[in-house]
């Protein structure tokens, strides 16, 4: 759409800006403030410069959490994106009762409070009272997510796939629906194979939404907190302590304000940087599609 330049538009943005500044900038400044100071209590602070940042960057504990986080996010993306595309391709095309039912049921996990998602899987995976755990136990698997690190990982990954694959499905489905029928007819005349229909018609049309889906899944899995916190509490040991869980332990559990603040800033910057790359790619491809 053609837009007119009007600096007075700032006045319409102002209420929003004041509110977001209040809930984003002020707290963020507190974090910056803590990240360069130390205290012996009694609210006496003194300047320590970049010491906390150096400590965090050299900290083994943070490194481990970061590595776990990256592995987790990569696994999540590697499973959810292809699975989501696959399911979206199998969504019913015509609208009707079955389509409505599919849409509603698919969206359901997305709308469950995160701690309830955790609770559901905490119960579901238990060998004494949970369906999954009980079945695995009966089949002779030595499965126990509270004791074994691998089992805890598997549980959390399946939980996340359960929780969020539908997001990818819904977005891809929206992209697929925007493809005119004529494209498929043309492909039929050309006797295109199923794969080339996917590769040259469906995938390019889905590119935009797929980028959004990947961006969202990256962001959200990188800051995952509630679900693993409820299911495993970060354990066994530190096996499922991801960045957010580690950060909350440091800040609220141990009250190490300085290191936690430095940690926060580095954490935020990493997410920001990667998301910015995605966003740029997204905007570029938007322009390329002429949308």
């Amino acid at each position: 759409m053609r837009k007119t330049t009007n600096q007075k538009a700032w006045f319409m943005v102002l209420p929003m800006l004041v509110l977001v500044a209040f809930s984003a900038i002020i707290p963020l400044m507190t974090v910056v403030n803590y990240s360069v100071q130390d205290t012996f209590g009694n609210n006496e602070f003194f300047w320590v410069g970049l010491e906390w940042f150096e400590e965090i960057l050299a900290s083994e504990r943070v490194h481990d959490a970061l590595i776990r986080q990256i592995i987790f996010t990569l696994i999540i993306l590697a499973i959810e994106v292809p699975l989501g595309i696959f399911v979206a391709l199998n969504m019913p095309k015509k609208s009707g009762l079955w389509t409505t039912l599919c849409l509603v049921l698919i969206a359901l996990p997305l709308l469950i409070p995160w701690n309830v998602v955790g609770t559901i899987w905490q119960i579901f995976g238990r060998i004494d009272i949970g369906l999954l755990g009980y079945m695995l136990d009966q089949l002779g698997f030595d499965y126990n997510y509270t004791q074994d690190a691998t089992d805890a990982w598997i549980t959390i990954i399946i939980m996340d796939v359960w929780h969020w694959t539908s997001l990818v499905v819904l977005l891809c489905y929206a992209g697929l629906k925007s493809i005119p029928d004529a494209y498929y007819q043309a492909a039929k005349i050309d006797q295109a194979s199923r794969w080339s229909i996917f590769r040259y018609i469906e995938l390019p049309k889905m590119k935009g939404v797929l980028l959004i889906a990947i961006l969202l899944r990256f962001m959200d899995s990188f800051m995952i907190y509630t679900e693993p916190f409820v299911v495993t509490g970060g354990g066994p040991g530190n096996a499922t302590t991801f960045l957010s869980i580690d950060l909350v332990k440091m800040a609220i559990g141990q009250f190490d304000l300085g290191p936690a603040a430095a940690f926060s800033l580095i954490y935020f910057l990493v997410i920001l940087l990667i998301s910015w790359v995605f966003y740029t790619v997204m905007v570029q491809s938007d322009k390329g599609a002429g949308a």
């Binding site: 199998n90 599919c102 800051m223 907190y225 409820v230």
Partner: protein, 267 residues
């Protein structure tokens, strides 16, 4: 044959999604003895006692009331500041608009874990700790950007000629906005409100950090039960089922727009 294959894939996927939810419902209808004594695929002694506990115990149903209160506050606040902002973004170029738009998105990216402690201190220092409004304001951190993005997406679909015609016809800005523009983007406002509601409803970390007694959310009530000894699985499951219901009810109305909402209005 092809349709059958698709139907099979969908059925399997939906089965995978529904099983854990079924299990939760199943457990919520059992007594604690039955849950712990043996394994059964459906409740043998059907009981609604677990739900009764929630509806009669103030610490449980109070949690729901608190959650709904701050969620509604948050939705109203978010939508009312987002509407004019989204209109400005969709209609005008102004200094720094692109940067501002991206900066908004960065707030959606901010890990709540980063903000938990500063929020706690900020709201404690202004005396709002453990109030509904504190949680409502804290949740604007990600809901206002979300609402702005979704509304902007919908507003872009309304041709600008409509604005111009209305001004020529002698409408003032506010009459135009209320009488003409709002009905046109009503579905957009509905979707944005739905998503504000949802994301505020599902969030745990901030609402747990900012409340202790008076405004304790249902999510926090549930996690605190988990950490207590002598876990009451049946009641916990019943509480879980009840938190799913609001989403399940509204989802039907937004089913055709839900992808757009999750994509921050970018589909």
């Amino acid at each position: 044959m092809k349709i059958n294959k698709s139907a099979l894939v969908m059925t399997l996927y939906i089965l995978f999604l529904m099983l854990p939810i079924y299990w939760l419902i199943n457990m919520s209808l059992k007594t604690n003895q039955e849950i712990l004594s043996g394994f059964s695929l459906w409740p043998e002694n059907l009981t609604f006692d677990n739900y009764l506990v929630i509806f009669t115990d103030a610490s449980w149903y109070g949690g729901y009331i608190n959650s709904i209160t701050y969620v509604l506050m948050n939705t109203v606040i978010s939508i009312s500041v987002a509407l004019p902002a989204a209109y400005a973004f969709s209609r005008y170029n102004f200094m720094g608009d692109k940067h501002l738009f991206f900066w908004l998105l960065t707030n959606r990216m901010a890990p709540p874990a980063v903000f938990a402690l500063p929020f706690f201190q900020l709201y404690s220092s202004i005396g709002l700790f453990d109030t509904h409004i504190a949680v409502a304001l804290a949740h604007t951190l990600f809901n206002v950007p979300l609402a702005v993005w979704i509304l902007e997406g919908f507003m872009r679909g309304v041709p600008k000629e409509i604005d111009e015609t209305a001004y020529i016809d002698g409408y003032g800005f506010f009459t135009f906005f209320r009488k003409i523009f709002m009905p046109l983007i009503a579905s957009g406002v509905g979707v944005a409100a739905f998503f504000c509601f949802m994301f505020s409803w599902v969030e745990l970390l901030l609402s747990r950090t900012l409340t202790s007694v008076d405004a304790k959310s249902i999510a926090a009530t549930m996690t605190r039960t988990v950490s207590a000894s002598g876990l009451d699985w049946g009641v916990l499951a019943a509480a879980g089922v009840l938190t799913i219901i609001p989403g399940a009810l509204v989802i039907y109305f937004v089913r055709n727009h839900i992808a757009r909402g999750f994509a921050l209005g970018r589909v």
